[in-house]
Amino acid sequence: MGASTLLTGCGDANTLRAEFPLLAAAPELHYLDSAATSQIHRSALDAVLHHETTSRANVARGTYRLAEAADLAFENARRTTARFLNATSADEIVFTSGATASLNLVAHAFGNTLQAGDRVLISVAEHHSNFVPWQMLRDRIGIELALIPVRADGQLDLARLPELMGSRCRLLALTHCSNVTGARTDVAAVVAAARQAGARVLLDGAQAVQHGPQDVRALGVDFYAFSGHKCFGPGGIGVLWGRHELLAAMPPFLGGGGMIGGVTPALSTWAPPPQRFEAGTPPIAQAIGLAAALEWMLGLPWPQIHAREDSLCRQLIEGLRAISDLRLLGPDAAVSRAPIISFEMPGLHPHDICQVLDTHGLALRGGHHCAQPLLAALGVESCSRASIALYNDAADIEALLSALDAARRELT
């Protein structure tokens, strides 16, 4: 057991907060924007610094000892990521620049195996990164793109799945958890419907991973995408997990060095996955930093952390309910949901609200959250969002509730 695991064995928010250099240096900061970017854990920073100062070299290219050290660290990062996802093999882990790149990779590479008239089913609740690539694929090759609507509380209306899938649904590409409402997708129901229709399932796990390790085999999905900067790791690194037989059947997305089997003036052949999808020099140090963050997460007491996150979520929802005219978006606190809470205060613009909150030491995001179709479905143009992570505590929630009163006074 590492020192970090010993420190965080109790899962106490203050102890955890102390392990995040930025938060430790800013005790007055109430950081409630982890759905946009979580803070980076010390282990990830240390790993990046250690790699860059002891083992920096390109990977899969050199035979000198430094390059071999870089190779080993990079491939170990792949193995750690596979353990975090309970993947069958590290060869199922593709490193990308972020969840957006992972989703675009599937839209291009898996998308190229589809034909005009095939259907891809997404939902109204998708982040633009799991919306726009499919619109682009539709426009490029003529697939049908269908949308699962949301109910009033932001949860996907899965009762309409059979009708929306039709007879030619090849893929359901859905959020694991909404970045606006916190609503979790009923993955079991989606996977059951997909299996019956012979369709594949891609989950956008960007908002799920910061709340604990995932088990892609238990989920039963075919692809899983996430970003490092949302699970306490560095920016510029993302992951696509895919079943190996699916990755092996997909053509490359980007061409370049590292992804080929061989190149002649006439043609090229492709490396097997995952290298087939890692053209060019990958984000080496970022992958190593991500792995350090994931390793740290693997040692955390998640039941206790989930209990605290749920408690803070309830505290915030109850507090927001007590504010007159405030409209909460998303499921009730009693529903299994992620601690992402969005709200609208009629007459007050989210940017103005968040600007005033900033003067009270609170970091929240206001805007459309890259989910304009969802906001339109919920009948709002923009909203304010508080997202809770493992380093937040009751003082953060109390500060927010108190500052919202101040914001209303200052802005009206």
Binding site: H349, P350, H351, D352, Q355, V356, G366, G367, H368, Q372, L375, E381, S382, E410, L411, T412
Partner: protein, 158 residues
């Protein structure tokens, strides 16, 4: 009008609330609709021209206090200006926000409300909120059939 330190001065709130120029023109020479990509805020700006000067503006603004106050100030001061004058105002406002450049004396005298946006200089993410209505006005003028060419800012007749 001098700028205080507070972003949300009373003047900003009053201008946003007053919404000078809000509405639509029966007949517009030019029209533009611009969105703020960050938040989805939207300004629809219409202009009517008499020769090379703005005879009327109307806007429909869905936005934050800064955006609405900026649109409202346009509703109050843009009539009487020509295309080049509006370009000059926009450039001066942008320079104030981005570089801290003082507003030209003639502009500060005739469009004093621009000073209320000075505290936004410290918040680069909000510059677009202030500038969006001005950019919409410029685009509406560019689309108009008779944009003016006079150049420097000219105080409108009141």
């Amino acid at each position: 009008m001098s700028a205080g330190d507070s972003l949300y001065q009373e003047a900003i709130k009053q201008f946003a609330q007053a919404a000078h120029g809000h509405g639509q023109l029966a007949q517009a020479a030019g029209e533009a609709r611009l969105d703020n990509r960050l938040c989805g805020d939207r300004v629809r700006m219409q202009v009517a021209l008499a020769a090379d000067t703005i005879s009327a503006v109307a806007h429909e603004t869905r936005g934050c206090l800064l955006c609405r106050a900026a649109a409202s100030s346009i509703g109050m001061h843009a009539p009487g200006q020509d295309h080049a004058g509006i370009v000059a105002v926009t450039q001066a406002l942008q320079a104030m926000l981005e570089n801290g450049s003082p507003l030209p004396a003639s502009l500060a005298a005739h469009w004093p409300e621009l000073a209320m946006f000075e505290p936004a200089r410290a918040h680069p993410s909000r510059h677009k909120c202030v500038l969006l209505p001005f950019q919409a006005l410029r685009e509406a003028l560019e689309k108009s059939t008779a944009a003016g060419t006079s150049g420097a800012f000219a105080a409108p007749a009141r």
